[in-house]
């Protein structure tokens, strides 16, 4: 068989890195490095988008790459850093499920999402189709991370990671969504992040901690 064109090789590489980062985030306990990982993920995402744009001559993808870079690599991590510094929450304690188990579940999820993505990839006409499975996997892993984390900020980072996975899916499967939508999504994410920032302070001043265990009072009593 002939070797893949360089662009596709790069994209596959980036996809692999993305998956790796997703796992890393799943395993990471320190919030600060979690933010780093998130930024890295954003960077990879932007790069891959750019490569796709280059190799498929899709100018509008450059814009979306730029958007991603700005938002996911600079603005959001910066905001998160400020929050962490302001609230000074550095350490994340043991999650609901211990790390190895989480990892195992993660593997299972990856296999599952590859399976699910397979038929779709068959249909895809894009050069990047094989990466759809990875995109879905990273979404799932982000979901798992949200479930397992007990603190507010990691949960939010998981949420943002999920957003990344989605964007990656969009680029890999369909060369990105129409620009309006991309912009809308970006806006939503940004606003959501800001609101969450406000939230953290409110929660903090109410419960003087960001531990989600304080947020378990509304429930059906026995």
């Amino acid at each position: 068989m002939t070797a893949l064109p360089i662009g596709q090789q790069l994209i596959n590489l980036f996809a692999a890195i993305l998956l790796l980062l997703a796992f890393a985030m799943l395993a990471q306990r320190r919030i600060v490095s979690l933010i780093d990982l998130f930024a890295a993920q954003g960077l990879v995402l932007a790069l891959s988008t750019a490569v796709v744009a280059y190799s498929t001559r899709q100018p509008h993808l450059y814009e979306s790459a730029a958007l991603t870079l700005a938002l996911k690599v600079f603005v959001l991590p910066w905001l998160l850093y400020r929050l962490v510094r302001k609230l000074d929450v550095r350490w994340e304690f043991e999650g609901l499920i211990n790390i190895p188990t989480t990892m195992l579940i993660g593997i299972v999820l990856v296999v599952l999402s590859f399976n699910l993505a397979l038929p779709i990839s068959e249909l895809a006409s894009t050069v990047t189709r094989s990466t759809l499975g990875i995109a879905m996997a990273s979404v799932m892993l982000a979901f798992l991370m949200m479930i397992t984390r007990r603190k507010a900020i990691p949960q939010v980072i998981g949420f943002l990671a999920m957003e990344n996975g989605l964007l990656f899916a969009a680029t890999s499967a369909t060369y990105g969504m129409p620009m309006v939508v991309e912009l809308g999504i970006a806006l939503d994410v940004l606003v959501g992040m800001l609101i969450l920032g406000v939230f953290f302070f409110q929660i903090r001043e109410q419960f003087d901690s960001l531990d989600l265990r304080h947020l378990e009072n509304l429930k059906e009593e026995e």
């Binding site: 779709i120 899916a169 499967a173 309006v180 999504i185 959501g192 609101i195 009072n217």
Partner: protein, 483 residues
């Protein structure tokens, strides 16, 4: 196309204006004025659509067909009445010292923003924009839910944000898959996300992809509809937010989310040979009805009670759309209308009741008819209406749904029978002593704003006895559209 522009622009401008002027004594009136203007514009828009059929405007970006235009009118109307109700309500809250002027500014502008997002979600023709608008609606309401800044309200808002955010993210994935399936037929670019385009080619959409997409979309938007087991945010958010917000959440937001689901269902039905989407919706609907009915019987907080009843009714509507066919769809649409009217009316009455008695715990609320006959009878009639007692309109739709189900899905009817019975027992046994019975509470000096309540209830009553022809045609066309 002036009307549509007005419908969408007025709330945005209103939001900006209210954010700028801050909380003055006339801010509530401005709020009312803007909402009224929106309703007038929406009414004009509706009239036009009734005259010259579906509209596709502003570069095909905005679609107005019978299905969504009646929801637009409904949304604008309930928004108006809610603003009317919230004027005295919020004033009393302020007097009670539960709200500061700053928060009231936030409340007013966010209320308008929320209206805008919902109207956008309803009118847009672009599935992607639909998603954006839904997400934006979530963000707008999160701040409204946490308005009191109490621990409970913060917790509720947090859960609301996270659960709906995640759900919405699934919906985005579904949208991407949809786009992915469409783009091979319609080519890349904006066209492939326009619902009208998708609908035109729905027979040729790739089945596997579409079914996957629908799963994600259903789970995503279903979270906002409040389908069991994705419903967990709903009771908290309703119980802890200010009552006007509970009213619009229950009366409008759930409808809009359901609208999104149904839009997607139409595409899937076209693409798939089997009744995949129908079965999913029937299953979710039935599950929601049963579980909600059971949980109704365990409630102690009055707003939680009616939140669960919203889940139950959303289940009924989902079930109806799942059955499909002209009658069931007609019934579903009618039920959407009467439910949002009745439920918001109930929340208005509940709000006043809570203000008068100073508690949300039902065991401490007694003898409302003696404290304030209007509130008492409003609550009693509203509860009876929502429980499906004729001659109110809720009964009309339940009549059609049940009788159709008896032939289409006979196996489901025992569950419905049991669930409706349990729900009746649960709600009525709790409402009756609140309305009647002895009380120790004093009569409060404030006059409740009962006009919205009784406007809604009389509309519901009318719909039970006589549905205006234009409305009926409207429902019929919409039902045909949904298929």
């Amino acid at each position: 196309m002036p009307e549509i522009v007005f419908v969408l622009a007025l709330p945005v401008l209103g939001a900006a204006l209210l954010a700028l002027i801050g909380h003055r004594s006339f801010a509530p009136s401005v709020n009312v004025a803007v909402s009224t203007g929106t309703f007038v514009a929406a009414a004009a828009l509706t009239a036009r659509v009734i005259e010259d059929g579906p509209l596709l405007v502003l570069g095909r970006q905005f679609l107005l067909d019978p299905f969504n235009v009646f929801l637009v009118a409904l949304t604008a109307f309930v928004g108006m009445t809610t603003s009317l109700f919230s004027r005295p309500y919020m004033r009393i809250e302020e007097e009670h010292g539960r709200l500061t002027p700053g928060r009231l500014r936030l409340y007013h502008s966010m209320f308008q923003l929320f209206m805008f997002t919902m109207l956008l979600a309803l009118t847009t023709n672009n599935v992607g924009i639909l998603w954006v608008a839904m997400e934006a609606a979530t963000l707008a309401t999160v701040l409204l839910v946490s308005l009191y800044r109490t621990p409970a309200s913060l917790e509720a808002a947090w859960k609301y944000f996270i659960l709906c955010g995640v759900g919405i993210a699934q919906a985005l994935f579904g949208t991407i898959l949809l786009y992915f399936a469409a783009e091979k037929l319609l080519g890349a670019g904006g066209g492939a996300l326009l619902w009208t385009e998708l609908n035109a080619v729905r027979e040729n959409l790739e089945p596997t992809v579409v079914s996957l997409a629908f799963v994600f979309l259903l789970v995503g938007y279903g979270t906002k509809v409040g389908l069991v087991p994705l419903h967990n945010w709903l009771p908290d958010a309703h119980a802890e937010g200010p009552t006007p917000v509970s009213a619009v959440l229950s009366g409008l937001l759930l409808n809009v989310a359901l609208y999104a689901v149904v839009r997607c269902k139409v595409l899937v039905d076209g693409a798939l040979p089997d009744a995949f989407a129908k079965d999913l919706m029937i299953g979710f609907g039935l599950l929601s009805v049963v579980v909600a009915a059971l949980l109704l019987s365990r409630q102690k907080d009055i707003k939680r009670l009616f939140a669960y009843s919203s889940i139950e009714h959303m289940g009924i509507i989902t079930f109806a759309f799942g059955i499909g066919g002209p009658i069931a769809n007609f019934a579903g649409l009618l039920h959407m209308t009467v439910h949002s009217l009745t439920k918001s009316a109930i929340f208005f009455a509940v709000g006043h009741a809570v203000q008068k008695t100073g508690t949300q715990v039902m065991d401490d609320i007694r003898g409302l008819v003696t404290i304030s006959p209007m509130v008492g009878w409003g609550l009693a009639l509203g509860a009876l209406a929502i429980l499906g007692m004729p001659p109110f309109g809720v009964f009309a739709s339940e009549f059609l749904i049940l009788t159709t189900a008896m032939r289409e899905q006979p196996w489901a009817t025992p569950f419905l029978l049991a669930a409706l019975g349990v729900a009746f027992a649960a709600v009525f046994s709790k409402v009756q002593p609140m309305v009647f019975g002895e009380t120790t509470a004093m009569r409060l000096p404030v006059r409740p704003a009962m006009i919205p309540v009784f406007t809604h209830l009389s509309l519901v009553l009318m719909l039970g006895l006589w549905i205006p022809p234009f409305l009926a045609d409207w429902y019929r066309n919409a039902a045909k559209l949904i298929g």
